[in-house]
Symmetry: C2
Subunit: 309 residues, 2 copies
């Protein structure tokens, strides 16, 4: 078995890691800023530099997996574009990187790959049917169906964040309106908090707080912060109910920064889920649990993609 | 190969049919009223009578498939219950019928089985990934994933009608609120039409019309009817967009009585779908088409279940 190189391309950071054969923990990792505003060419240069900086003697004797945000075509190796990657439009990232690195490259959606990682090494172990949501700046999704990563007919599944949950709702990161992401992402939580504060005190001219800051305020007893996180949790629980009606999984794993708010967000999410299933059978056979791999899901999933492909 | 008996248990009618080996068209069919208000025992008696009335010389030399509404457990052969089957609560229909008929019986959700039938013999032929919605009194769903009927981990997938599309929306047939079914089913169309007429003319004391009657009024130019069907079509198109983001199918088949409104409902549905996908890739690779098997989907799917199990 060859060593695997994994790359997690995010809107903020590029992470690269070297996984020795048969290991699920990297022996080397690098993190550089994406500086996405400089456009695809500069970002691809930085991916190549980050991989080279892992100090691998012979990159051509490795296999590389890449986790990318937003809709991707894993068969053709194309990144269609993502809100946090300005200027990316159908970029053939797999082939560009294969040529630059001189090794075979596989590409997948970051949340799909994080689902794969959670299933193999994290909170999804032991089941054959799993849904995964990563709730962060945006909301991504992944699914394991009957013991396999599900990517749909064209690799475009499963964008759970872009389920319409209220057509009159706020604008989403993708530009459309009323998606789960527009109600429950970290961005949505910060925006809602700023709006409620401004409504309470018209002279407040505050930056949108992060979800973590709203969480800290909630733990300190701030009633607005508690309200905002409860609303987001309810949106998540209702969204998960819709997804459980559709997919009937054994387990739902919630990851991403917002999930790290812990019971503050899990309690209202589970309550809303329980209240939103159409029949008790849907809640009798499914559990909603936190992710176990933290930020490493995409990276580990990219390694698995390279190793297993 | 044995002949197959198929039963489609609906809230209004029970249909039974005999399919000779290797045939997709029945040689005998029977239809009796369900009279669901008389409870499970009476309904099961009528199913048995309808099958016996097919005039099969030796029922024990057949295999029987049963399509039932609402959440079912196909592994245990249990009907969990359905809004239009009052008094049904975890009825072990498969084993009860097997004992009464003296032949092996298989049970499945009616919309799942209709999806299977459309895929094999109807509007879903030629693809490996298909979503099916039957839009009728309620809204049911089915999915073919990678060339197989998808029923989820416990057989409870895919209840697309009970996706929350607006938490402030009307009550659903299942008792909860704001589901796709509460906006776009035939029941919802009739209720909305009656409400708009009452708002226009407070003295109108009208029965809720059927979706077909609303369709006829729309074709005759009634602006309220046109509005109601357009609203339902938009709800369907948005719901399909959410499902396409999640499942990434090759084709979406719409069946049931409401789909028989034709372009009146397909045009706004397709327009809303096109406007509601987060990236052009989602609409480039999927088509939304009418079902081809009419009311026979559940019956043919039940035959396939019996034949292929």
């Amino acid at each position: 078995m060859l060593p695997a190189v994994a790359v997690d391309l995010g809107g903020t950071n590029i992470r690269a890691a070297l996984f020795p054969p048969d290991q699920s923990k990297p022996s080397q990792t690098r993190r550089v800023l994406t500086l996405a505003e400089e456009g695809p060419q500069a970002v691809i240069d930085r991916i190549v530099d980050a991989v080279r900086d892992l100090g691998i003697h012979d990159v051509s004797a490795t296999r590389t997996g890449v986790a990318a945000p937003g809709p991707t075509d894993p068969v053709q190796g194309i990144v269609y574009g993502a809100p946090n990657l300005p200027g990316w439009d159908r970029v053939p990232l797999r082939d560009l990187l294969a040529e630059r690195l001189g090794c075979p490259v596989w590409l997948g959606n970051d949340a799909n790959l994080a689902a794969l990682a959670e299933w193999r090494f994290g909170a999804g172990q032991g089941v054959r049917n799993l849904l995964y949501l990563t709730i962060s700046t945006g909301i991504g999704g992944g699914a394991i169906i009957d013991g396999r990563l599900f990517t749909g007919a064209h690799g475009l599944a499963v964008e759970f964040g872009h389920m319409i949950v209220d057509p009159d709702g706020p604008q989403c990161g993708c530009g459309l309106y009323g998606h789960l992401e527009s109600f429950a992402s970290g961005t949505a939580i910060g925006r809602r908090m700023a709006a409620l504060r401004a409504a309470q005190d018209a002279t407040a001219l505050e930056m949108e707080p992060t979800a973590a800051a709203v969480g800290a305020a909630a733990r300190a007893g701030d009633p607005l912060a508690l309200q905002v996180i409860q609303e987001a949790g309810i949106a998540i629980g209702r969204g998960v109910a819709s997804l459980v009606h559709a997919f009937d999984p054994e387990r739902v794993v919630l990851g991403g920064g917002v999930s790290q708010l812990g019971e503050l967000i899990f309690r209202p999410a589970r309550q809303a889920f329980d209240a939103s299933v159409m029949h008790p059978a849907y809640r009798a056979n499914v559990e909603i649990v936190p992710a176990a791999l933290g930020d490493d899901g995409g990276l580990i999933g990219a390694m698995l993609l390279a190793r297993d492909s």
